[in-house]
């Protein structure tokens, strides 16, 4: 059950990050950081399907994390959810077409090893 919850958290986090990235790339760069302009950008973005999906996924991830905290140690729950770094790197490379160099792959590999150690 705990690893199932970790899977839900990681899956939802990765989907949220993926949809957020797609939405922000389509929106374009934000250069005006005054509160009014930021508010207007947020209002525009809040109506986009990708952003709504991303926020829904964040909510799923949050409530799954609460559930995990009620069943597992804090010192397990927080590092275990770092597995999202690994899946995120794969998604970035193959779905978002980012160029992932060896350092990033090594970093993601280390995170994967760390999560595997938590399972012991």
């Amino acid at each position: 059950m705990t690893w199932f919850l970790v899977g839900v958290i990681v899956g939802a986090t990765v989907l949220a990050d993926y949809f957020q990235t797609r939405a922000m790339r389509r929106h374009g760069e934000i250069h005006d950081f005054r509160p009014g302009a930021l508010g207007r950008a947020a209002a525009t973005l809040a109506r986009k399907g990708y952003v709504i999906t991303a926020v829904a996924m964040m909510a799923v991830s949050f409530f799954a994390f609460l559930t995990l905290l009620s069943r597992a140690d804090l010192s397990f729950a927080v590092p275990a959810t770092a597995a999202s770094f690994v899946i995120n790197t794969v998604v970035a490379r193959y779905l978002l077409k980012e160029r992932v160099n060896w350092r990033r792959w090594t970093g993601a590999g280390l995170v994967a090893c760390g999560v595997a150690l938590l399972a012991l």
Partner: protein
């Protein structure tokens, strides 16, 4: 020869380039360090406080929707959520000032802090594998962060304007 007369009349010279930059960078550096510590502390303390609240609540979550609604009003859980909102906002502010390749390794310290909080204040049993696993994750996140922040739009520099203007603005 140029160094003999530092700041007098050498404004257009190539030499003035190196003299004038450092003082301006100093103030943001303090702000960045401050924001980074807020990001690390708010994340670790937020998770810690949520765990305290859920332990106090007692029951395991997941049986019904009501347990979730009730646990949200548990004071420690509410405080934890507040801290996580602060974490999100501080992280956004930090990302607007610093590179992601700075933010990721610096904030990965939070995993270690989280482990220490769990060990000291919650009395959780930390096996050797758990310590090593946590530290390996810190190293992994730090390594991911040591790469350049952008790989897809490498050709575009900060100097030229974005190619796409939002459709709504007309």
């Amino acid at each position: 020869m140029r160094r003999a007369a530092p700041a007098k009349g050498s404004q257009e010279n190539g030499a003035s380039r190196t003299d004038e930059q450092p003082p301006r960078r100093r103030r943001p550096a303090v702000r960045i360090a401050l924001l980074a510590s807020i990001v690390i502390l708010a994340n670790a303390l937020g998770n810690f406080s949520m765990k305290c609240g859920i332990d106090r609540y007692g029951a395991r979550l997941g049986a019904s929707v009501w347990t979730y609604l009730r646990v949200l009003f548990e004071p420690w859980v509410a405080l934890g959520i507040g801290l996580l909102i602060l974490w999100l906002l501080a992280r956004m502010a930090l990302l607007s000032l610093a590179d992601l390749s700075y933010v990721l390794p610096v904030t990965s310290v939070g995993y270690a802090l989280n482990a220490v909080l769990a060990r000291v204040f919650l009395g959780e049993h930390m096996s050797a594998a758990r310590w090593v696993g946590t530290l390996v994750i810190v190293a992994g996140v730090a390594l991911v962060g040591s790469t350049s922040a952008r790989t897809t739009l490498a050709a575009r520099t900060a100097a030229d304007p974005p190619a796409v203007v939002p459709e709504e603005v007309r």
